[in-house]
Amino acid sequence: MWRRRLGHLRPVVCGVEELRGRRREKEAALRKARREQQLVSKRLLRDDAPDESGEGCVVAILGEAEVQQFLRLAQRGTEEKDRERALVSLRRGLQHPETQQNFIRLEGSMRTLVGLLTSNHALLQLEAARCLHELSHSEQSAVAEACLPATSYLLTYLSGHSSDFIELCLYTLGNLIVESEAVRSQLLPQGIVPAMAACIQSPHVAVLEALGYALSQLLQAKEAPEKIIPSSILGSTLPQHMLQLLQPGPKLNPGVAVEFAWCLHYITCSQVNNALLITHGALSTLGLLLLYLAGDIQRTEDAGLELLACPVLRCISNLLTEAVVETMGEQMQLRDERVMAALFVLLQFFLQKQPSLLPEGLWLLNNLTANSPSFCTSLLSLDLIEPLLQLLPVSNVVSVMVLTVLCNVAEKGPAYCQQLWRGPLLPSLLNMLAVSDTEVVGQSLELLHLLFLYQPEAVQAFLQQSGLKALERHQEVAQLQDRVHALWQTALHG
């Protein structure tokens, strides 16, 4: 999928602005869907080679009679070629929603299609599966749910021998999975998780990517934390295999890794049993993957790496909050300075390519530094304070997070503040005091307090650079006034 995406971009026929506009619309729709907890996405596999007539884009709607005709011919035709052509015609017609409606209205149509799916003719099986796939992709629930009689067969075929066929079945199942809880309530007892656990051992990249997609959709389901993850998923061998597929090295496939990284994210953020994942080596694997990603970014600047970086960052950040991490003592992976270096390479990449992901990177930075003198020291010794300060102007959310990380460092005492104090910290801080956002200012005040406490010369420098004036404008703000007043006193009287 990954490379195919990059390799099959259609030539741009409409203007760039129009494309951007469409993308913004899509984004807005997705945001709304997410807020309503309805964020689902189906995937469509379609042979986009031009058809025989050379038409390409125009899809004729098939009426019920025509659908019936094609089905009959496919089922009972004497010539194999005729049967195949009939199914191909049906499949093309099913690209249109109206044909889909006509299909499901026709009595016995799904039964016939399932019969073709389970016939002993490879080409008929494939075309029947493609028809099912088109139906599964429909936004109309009635159409997608009409595919339910086929699911037991799709699952059976997952342990078959044709990787292309398996791939198709997986994407079809993935589409059905997101359809509704009712559908999932059928798929689970039918054994979808064990079938997937068997599938994950496939050597075929396309199969693995399709499996990762389908599994990610299953894990994203609303009821997953209670009904799917605890016993089915965590009780299977899926977690270990997932982590294997995320191991960096020559065998790592980006498209596959993206899907399974998202799977892992849905599991970890469900907070079911993250300790188990840690014993399987999740933190170790993800840490190495982070290093690998940073190295890759430096080498290739591949667009799309953020698709993998995002779930990796989320998983590590959430896993670091597990109590077991503390009781394990500070393991090497959790103190490896290279993780800090890698994270900053990622932050720089985000700043250039995807600024909306900066908060996610900074979240990890917070979780690395909060309770770790070692990582705070790395931040200082690797000269990363100045680059960090360069992120301050990006947005209020980013400002608050940067200031929080700086506070993480400063609160560890004089040795840290002394190092922190070098460089452009004060001017940046004064700039933050000029901002109107209360949370940004509040966090700046906390940092100032720590600096005044542990680094006495900070007070003088503050006064000299008109710090009091910067404070003054906030003395009436409810959430800030106590702290403003306290700092004022400290600055004037020590």
């Binding site: 596999l45 067969y153 059976t156 342990s159 021998h161 909306s356 917070n366 979780n367 940092l447």
Partner: protein, 223 residues
């Protein structure tokens, strides 16, 4: 954002932790009105913090169109699944199976991962339908009606008869109840021989099953 030159070198270097500077906290640091405390932050699934990244993820999912491999020139038939193949061989072609099934539950559940076994195929069917929500006419569990399988012993290049016959699908027949497999008969009565002359497929029983759809199209999508 300017990263220090030393960073690249550090990334390429060995694993090492920084020797931490001494930590020395003054209680006044947390004195009111100041309230900062360094703490780990965790976000649950639906938190709005994840909105941006989630939207990017879904844009990626939706924007991709891909090609399915073209139909192969010489189609090879694939048995539905390895699991079913094993079950089929065992139930239909193993005479030991007949003997053992008289004494113990030998019909294994067809669902991958389910370890249940049953005395009869009807009992298994009931289990499939009730527990696994399988269709009552699941095609890969149909007993053969007086029809023996193709020659199998010793000859690897013969297709197995599929348990479901596509010609029968239009009649919508219900599943036969309780038809224990008999020894494979050499000449099925009124049934069809199942030689593979129409289907050039080969199935290897046991190790190394052949691929079902060997595409002749050069794939540039895998790497």
């Amino acid at each position: 954002m300017q990263l220090p030159a030393v960073l690249c070198a550090r990334l390429a270097g060995g694993s090492a932790a920084a020797e931490p500077l001494p930590v020395e906290r003054d209680p006044a640091a947390k004195a009111a009105p100041f309230r900062f405390a360094a703490r780990l932050v965790r976000f649950p699934r639906e938190h709005e913090f994840f909105e941006d990244g989630d939207v990017q993820r879904h844009l990626y999912l939706r924007d991709v169109l891909s090609q399915v491999a073209e139909a192969p020139e010489r189609p090879r038939r694939a048995f539905p699944s390895g699991h079913l193949l094993d079950a089929h061989i065992l139930e239909w072609h193993d005479s030991l199976f007949q003997i053992l099934s008289e004494r113990q539950d030998m019909y294994q559940c067809l669902v991958e991962g389910c370890t249940e076994k049953f005395k009869t195929s009807k009992a298994r069917k009931d289990h499939l339908v009730k527990l696994h929500l399988y269709p009552t006419d699941f095609r890969f569990d149909k007993p053969q009606k007086g029809r023996g399988p193709a020659m199998l012993r010793g000859n690897e290049n013969v297709a197995a008869e599929p348990l479901g016959d596509d010609r029968e699908q239009s009649e919508g027949e219900a599943m036969e109840v309780c038809c224990e497999p008999t020894d494979p008969s050499p000449a099925p009565e009124g049934g069809r021989w199942t030689y593979s002359h129409r289907i050039p497929a080969t199935i290897c029983f046991g190790q190394g099953a052949s691929r079902g759809f060997k595409s002749t199209k050069k794939k540039n999508k895998h790497h």
